[in-house]
Structure formats: C-alpha cells, structure tokens
C-alpha cells in the first residue's frame, strides 16, 4: 500500500491540541466523504508540534485528493475559529521532514 504524507499548518488565535486537530480533520472527512470515504482515505496523524502549529498526516496514495479537501475544509478546531493550510505533500516521511526543516 502506497502512502502520502501531508504537512499542515494551522492558523488560529488559540492554542490547539493535537487531539482536537485530529478530531476536526476526521470530522471534516466524515462530513464530506462519509464513512466509506474515510475508510478509503486511511487518514492517520503522524506528528504535531504545538509550538509551530504544524502537523503531519498520512493518507492512502489513492485518496490524497480526498484527504487534502477534508483538511482544507476545516474551519474550526474545538469550537474555535481556525484555518488549515497544506504546506507540502511527499511520498516519504523522510523527504517531508527534510523539506520542512530546510
């Protein structure tokens, strides 16, 4: 099974916890694509840094577009206004981290 790794930046005036971010993204995925879509996307949180508000998600290669659309459609996290932007998408975690640190 091939995967894609998605680096995401969260913009919010409030502090965001990793669990709340995951809830917001999976909520968005369920709302837009339903349970079947969520099963195809296999969206998994890999990493979240609350200092930089950057997160990394993994998804199935074939469901990348679904995962991206779900992340972008996030408009609030834990009932607080927020926006998620995709910074980078990579085929390997190593390449993604290299890109994020450069």
């Amino acid at each position: 099974m091939r995967h894609r790794y998605i680096a995401v930046k969260i913009d919010s005036e409030h502090e965001i916890e990793g669990r709340d971010l995951l809830n917001a993204v999976s909520d968005s995925l369920f709302k837009i694509f339903g349970e079947y879509g969520a099963s195809l996307a296999e969206l998994t949180p890999i990493d979240y840094d609350p200092r930089t508000n950057c997160a990394v998600f993994r998804c199935a290669h074939k469901a990348l577009e679904m995962a991206k659309a779900s992340i972008i459609a996030v408009r609030e996290i834990n009932r607080k206004k927020a926006a998620a932007q995709i910074i980078y998408v990579s085929g390997t975690l190593k390449a993604l981290r290299k890109r994020l640190t450069s």
Binding site: D11, I72, R75, I86
Partner: protein, 248 residues
Amino acid sequence: MKKFVDLNLRLPIAKHEVRRAEELIKRSAELGYSSIGVPITTEADQSEIQDLERICNENKLDLIKRGDLKPKNVRDLLSSLRSLRRKREVIAVYCNSKSIARQAARDHRVDLISFSSADPRRRFFDSAEAELASKTSSALEIDMAPLIMLDGFPRARLISRIRREVTIAKKLNVPIVMSSGTADKYLLRKPQDYVALAYLFDLDHQTALKALSEAPLKIVERNREKLSPNYVAPGVYIVRRGRDCHGV
C-alpha cells in the same frame, strides 16, 4: 511563476474598518495572491479607495476595483451597467432570476455571472445560459467560502449543483473563475488549496489553476485596456497625441 488572483475578496472599505481590511490584505499576500478584486460600492468615496490602494501597494498586491450588481429586474441591470461599466475594472452580476441571468450572459459588459450559494434552486446556469455566455466571454464565478462554511445537506446540494455547472461550462467553453467570496480571514485559503478543494466538484487540476490565474487575469487585462484613455475601439488605439503627431 504563476500569478494568482482572488477576484472577490469582500474587504470592508469604510474608514473605521481600515485595520480589518489591512489584516485581510496582508493575509492574501501571505497566501500567495498577486492581485485581489474588491467589490466597491457606488457610495464609496475616493479617499477610502485610495487607502485601499496604499495598503495593497505596501503589500505588493494589485487592487482590482470590482462592481457587484444585484439587479431586481432586467431594466435595473441595464441601467446599472450603463452607469458602472466605465467606473469599475470588473463587473459581476448576481443573478436572482432566470431573466436576469440570461440578460447578463448575453451582455458584453458583464464579466462575471454569479449565483446564490445559499439557495441552489436560484442557480440558473444551464446549457442555454452557457451558450449565451460563451459568445460574450462572460465567466462563471464560483465562490469557495460557502463550500467551507456550509455543512451537511446544504453543502452536498451546493457541491452537486456546482459540479453540474462546471461540466456544462467546460463543455461549452465558458471560462470559470474561482474566488474566495469572503471577508473572514479564517475562510481564506491558498490558491493551491482551492485547487485541491475543487476536487469536490470534479474540476481538474489544470482548469482549477486556470480559474485562479489565467481566467481572471484575462478579464482584468481586457478591461484595463478598454478603460485606458488610449483605447478607441477593439484593435484601435491612440499611439501619439498632440505635437508628436506632426509628420506621421
């Protein structure tokens, strides 16, 4: 590098809201836009517009003055077009009825045809509308904010309606323009993110990119050319004036 345009950033332009406008303009620049279209009402005074221009210049953004028309009937549309066309760089018409939509599509002075996002039954973009629009090069405008803002069945209905419109527009070569359509910084997204979101209504990557860059830029360039004092008619321009003309 591609230039991205957000043709419908709903900036507050009143003097007391300059701070908020500045914040939104900065945000647009950070997100990677090079031009923003701002709806400017007929009541807006020159100093407010100049303030906006100054803030945009400071953030290296090109300000496009847009006129939004919400006519009650066809006659109202025609009179608004007569008064506003020479004052704004882009004219968008919000079509609340089929007759207004048809007139907007067949009128050369209209650049963008917009429909209600709240009520998909009031979206009148069908094959007949597209055929008229393709002859006048009016574009179909899709506001992206409602796709993020709405939830559940209303969003599903809107997506389904936009998907149908996009299929018709592509079939009949009607340009598509995607814009944010919001005044909330948390609903603004990067151009590449809008391209990813366009997956929801089956708009392919290339057409989605075009809808945020080439298509709006083409409209703006065409209209700026027409609004320039050297423009006489299509293909006819004044190249020299006054004394320069001796011996030509």
